[in-house]
């Protein structure tokens, strides 16, 4: 069976100018597979600079990988042309972080919905287009009568973000890339948007790649998680296991820093001091080496993934007694 999406050992390096010696590895050797049969939600989590957004850009075909290939239904997305490219553009949709920036303030919000309808010739008449727009808005829990014909500044951030989801839904996508969709929305509206996203998966069979630094929302919406740090996979697996029993020192730090809305649970209980990422460190080996309290000599060579449970693995030599998982098999650790 051809998977819906496949990352084959994808690396992306940004070099700084022609003569500069420095280059930044935004993503190193990521392999990931999403099956076409079972729609799922996978979270990609990490701090800024971890390569989350690079992953989204690669997946949407905005940038090309330095090494490796990205296959969408068996076809390399950088080689798509003509009809296939159009299909890819329709079937892979995105919701971005900023619900304010994607709207053109001079047009009513209908514009955002009618452009894709015209572009992909989804409707034969104006009336049909209108029906489709209304259906998509209702599907994300908005009242079409309150939304259509209004200008972006008349709507709240939560409403705008849901219109973005509605736009994606209109095209009947197979895959949705949600890059921090709730980080700029009020806490009280986040729940609504997350619920909308989850409905997309359960009712419309859309697979979702949920990119975030917010592990609380990730925990609630997904089954599986990939934790990145400076472009490298630190820990993968079942979201319950990874969040409740994080194994990699980095994941432990990340989870310990979540401000849980619970007065009985204090942050900062691990010994790792909260400190910012130092990007000037370009040594090979484990990317977390400089900050890790358990750093050993062998950490100077990049650690492979060591299996910890059925659905959990960490790239850390602390677990080198455990069996090694080849990075091509990473997807097998992700429950659906």
């Amino acid at each position: 069976m051809t998977p819906l999406l496949e990352f084959q050992n994808v690396t992306k390096v940004y070099s700084r100018g022609l003569l500069s010696r420095h280059s930044t590895t935004a993503l190193s050797g990521l392999s990931l597979k999403l099956e076409a049969e079972q729609p799922t939600i996978v979270t990609v989590a990490g701090e800024s600079g971890s390569g989350k957004t690079t992953l989204a850009m690669l997946l949407l075909g905005f940038i090309e990988p330095t090494e490796g290939r990205i296959l969408y239904r068996g076809q390399d997305i950088s080689r798509l042309a003509g009809e296939d490219r159009l299909t890819f553009r329709r079937e892979v949709q995105a919701v971005f972080q900023d619900p304010f920036a994607v709207f053109n303030p001079f047009y009513p919000v209908d514009h955002l919905l009618s452009v894709p309808i015209n572009r992909f010739k989804l409707a034969k008449s104006r009336a049909e287009a209108r029906t489709k727009m209304e259906a998509a808005l209702s599907a994300v829990g908005l009242q079409p009568g309150e939304i259509l014909g209004r200008f972006p500044h008349q709507l709240s951030g939560g409403q705008r973000q849901r219109i973005n989801v509605a736009r994606a839904l209109l095209l009947r996508p197979r895959l949705l890339v949600a890059d921090e969709p709730v980080s700029m929305v009020d806490a009280s509206l986040r729940a609504n948007i997350l619920e909308t996203l989850r409905n997309l998966q359960t009712q419309y069979g859309v697979s979702i790649i949920y990119i975030t630094h917010d592990l609380t929302t990730a925990y609630h919406i997904t089954k599986s998680i990939v934790v990145l740090y400076r472009g490298a996979v630190m820990e993968v697996g079942d979201v319950d296991a990874v969040i409740k029993q994080p194994q990699h020192p980095y994941t432990q730090l990340l989870i310990d820093s979540i401000p849980w809305p619970d007065v009985n649970r204090h942050w900062g209980e691990t010994e790792i001091k909260a400190k910012e990422t130092d990007f000037s460190d370009h040594r090979a080996g484990c990317k977390f080496y400089a900050r890790c309290p358990f750093a050993m000599d062998k950490c100077r060579t990049p650690p492979p993934l060591f299996q910890i449970g059925d659905f959990q693995a960490a790239a850390c030599y602390l677990y080198d007694k455990n069996p090694v998982i080849e990075s091509e098999h990473l997807s097998e650790l992700l429950p659906i």
């Binding site: 709240s156 806490a187 729940a191 989850r198 609380t216 609630h220 730090l253 809305p261 619970d262 007065v263």
Partner: protein, 326 residues
């Protein structure tokens, strides 16, 4: 304990073409030295207006229409413009939302810090000024080289900590932080909050933390004030607020929070925050309130102490005198 900050009946309106928006409608609270208060609410509930009003930085078409802001024994509202300039940073200090983008990109960090001290103490000796700047940088955990650096050479968290350093340069009595970490990652966020916590201990100021992240509040503050449509709805200690919220809006806010125990349960607050231009009559929350009564639609509930406690709430459910006649 004597409160170091006392705000009483603060009123702010914005006059727009569409009418008068009451952004703050009679807000009162007080805070002791060393206390941390969290001010939470949805966007548009008046949190930032509250901060700006306390700093007397409301710009037209907004206007402060009444009330007092007393820091120690001085009512900031009665000061002249010149005296208010002096009071900012030395009595009350404000770290605005996205403060890290407010650093001047073309002057060194040190020059911006020096400016702040000079403005308050024109005769300070250069060597003294530099020593005080370096101390401030040290207290937010930044190396002294930062003094000679430009904003673009620093990361987001470092810039935010520079802003905190500037905020505490003159040992203010009250420090207002408006969403200090909303653009930062969790790890950096923890580092910044730990910094604020530590400098507060050093200078013994009262801190007001504005934000909508209830998780951050649970980890950081002593007391939480919930705002809605320019009014305070409830004021309780952080433990009471999270374990036993009283006001229906506070209850909805708390139950909408993601937690480790309620996986996959999403409970948003139904309805939308009202427009300040067209506030509903009576309690502003009544159209969204699950426990709405007849009285809520006509009478504004008073913000008062709950029976036998030192918690405050504005809700007819708890105002026994105003119970609906059955």
């Amino acid at each position: 304990m004597n409160p170091v900050l006392h705000v009483s009946d603060l009123q702010v309106s914005y006059y727009t073409d569409a009418g008068r928006a009451r952004a703050l409608d009679g807000v009162s609270l007080s805070l002791a030295a060393g206390e941390k208060l969290g001010l939470v609410g949805e966007s548009g509930s008046g949190k930032s207006t509250m901060a700006l009003a306390m700093m007397r930085m409301i710009k037209p078409p907004g206007r402060i229409e009444g009330g007092k802001v007393i820091v120690e024994d001085t009512d900031l509202m009665s000061l002249s413009e010149g005296d208010m300039l002096d009071a900012r940073l030395s009595k009350i200090s404000y770290i605005p939302q996205g403060a890290m983008n407010s650093l001047n990109p073309v002057t060194r960090i040190g020059a911006q810090m020096t400016d702040a001290i000079r403005a308050h103490d024109p005769r300070a000796r250069p060597a003294d000024i530099k020593r005080r700047c370096l101390e401030a940088l040290g207290s937010v955990d930044l190396r002294s080289e930062v003094f000679r650096m430009y904003a673009h050479e620093l990361s987001g968290g470092m810039k935010q900590r520079v802003c905190i350093a500037i905020g505490i340069l003159l040992n203010p009595k009250v420090l207002i932080c408006d969403e200090p970490t909303s653009a930062l990652d969790v790890v950096t966020q923890r580092q910044v909050m730990e910094t604020i916590d530590r400098v507060q201990d050093q200078i013994g100021a009262a801190v007001i933390l504005i934000g909508h992240d209830m998780g951050l509040m649970a980890q950081f503050v002593d007391k939480v004030a919930v705002m809605y449509a320019g009014r305070l709805m409830e004021l309780s200690t952080v433990r009471e607020m999270f374990t036993d919220p009283k006001h229906p809006y506070a209850q909805a806010l708390i139950s909408s929070l993601p937690n480790l125990d309620n996986k996959g349960v999403f409970q948003g607050i139904p309805g939308l925050a009202p427009s300040l231009l067209r506030l509903p009559g009576g309690c502003p929350f009544h159209p969204r309130c699950p426990q709405v009564m007849e009285i809520c639609k006509t009478e504004v509930p008073k913000f008062q102490f709950l029976p036998n406690s030192n918690r405050l709430a504005a809700c007819h459910l708890y105002s026994s005198a105003e119970r609906p006649r059955s």
